[in-house]
């Protein structure tokens, strides 16, 4: 669970700095980190608060940015199904980009669902605490790390390390390629819709590639 942890810290610091710079109190900054627990939603909400956007616009924008969480939720669903409802409800709260990327691999290789679930819960809890600590650190200390160090770059690098094992065959590689092209092409869409749309394009491309592979295999037989 160290790698997702390293990936989340610089992001949390950035959020803390943003909260301080738009004039939130320390309690509000911590409350937001505790309750929202999503860097993308927090940064966007704070940008919109600073811009004086109306309540409904801020909530709607954060909802749209959170749509990718529904895709994670669907991917986690079969693994969490055997667990009691209160465990599912608890684990859903710690379903972040980082926890999903780390835990989905573990669920697939785990001998029984409990093993994956305990890894998921442990990773999620550590990430939540690290999220609070890094948000507070950013709020109190400001950007102590020089911008020239580009430490934010560790966030995509962490996801890259988790992506490579997921590219296990031709259809998954096609899914990634299609999603990567789509996210650049769709970037002008409002409210970062490009992210979830690119994800859906990638999934559709993967399904089509898998279907084509099955058809080819059928013909060979």
């Amino acid at each position: 669970m160290t790698p997702p942890l390293i990936g989340i810290l610089p992001f949390g610091v950035v959020c803390g700095v943003a909260a301080q710079s738009i004039g939130l109190s320390a309690v509000e900054a911590v409350g937001m980190a505790m309750i929202v627990f999503s860097g993308a939603a927090q940064i966007l909400a704070m940008q919109l608060i600073a811009a004086g956007a109306p309540f409904g616009v801020i909530v709607l924008t954060c909802l749209v940015v959170g749509l990718r969480l529904m895709m994670y939720s669907a991917a986690m669903a079969p693994h969490l199904k055997p667990l009691p409802a209160r465990w599912r409800n608890l684990l859903a709260f710690v379903l972040t980009d980082q926890a999903f990327a780390a835990a989905i691999q573990r669920f697939r290789s785990a001998a029984h669902p409990g093993e994956g679930a305990s890894y998921f819960l442990g990773t999620g809890a550590v990430l939540w605490i690290a999220w609070l600590v890094s948000n507070v650190a950013g709020y109190l200390a400001g950007n102590v790390i020089p911008a020239a160090w580009s430490l934010n770059f560790i966030v995509p690098l962490c996801f890259l390390a988790l992506l490579v094992p997921a590219l296990e065959d031709r259809p998954t590689r096609i899914a990634a390629l299609a999603s990567g092209v789509a996210v650049v092409v769709l970037e002008p869409l409002p409210m970062r819709l490009s992210l979830v749309c690119a994800g859906l394009v990638g999934v559709a491309a993967g399904l089509a590639a898998a279907r084509a592979a099955r058809v080819r295999a059928g013909r060979a037989r």
């Binding site: 079969p78 390390a161 998954t172 899914a175 996210v183």
Partner: protein
Amino acid sequence: MTGTLTLWALIVAIGALNYVSRLSFIALFAKLPMPPLVARALRFVPAAMLTAIIVPAVVFESPGAVALGWTNPKVPAVLVASFVAWRFRSVTGTMASGMLALWFVQWALAALRP
């Protein structure tokens, strides 16, 4: 949009909707059987979503401006990190090599600039 109460209402509303998104299909498919097409699609979620997060962080120097040239130090850095990730399957190695490559290219570009 400046009142303390409004701000807390906003935080709770965003948090609640985020939680609903996170719980959505976990709760739904715990009760209902999953359609076969959805079950087959799920395998592609990690590859598609992780790529969608990584690519903008690498190719956009500022929002909306694609920078794929060698003057964007993140491009060579991510190539080095991809090789390390593929060859050694090490998460720490991927992050370390990517950061070192980024710093090296940034330093080299600054040194070469007339």
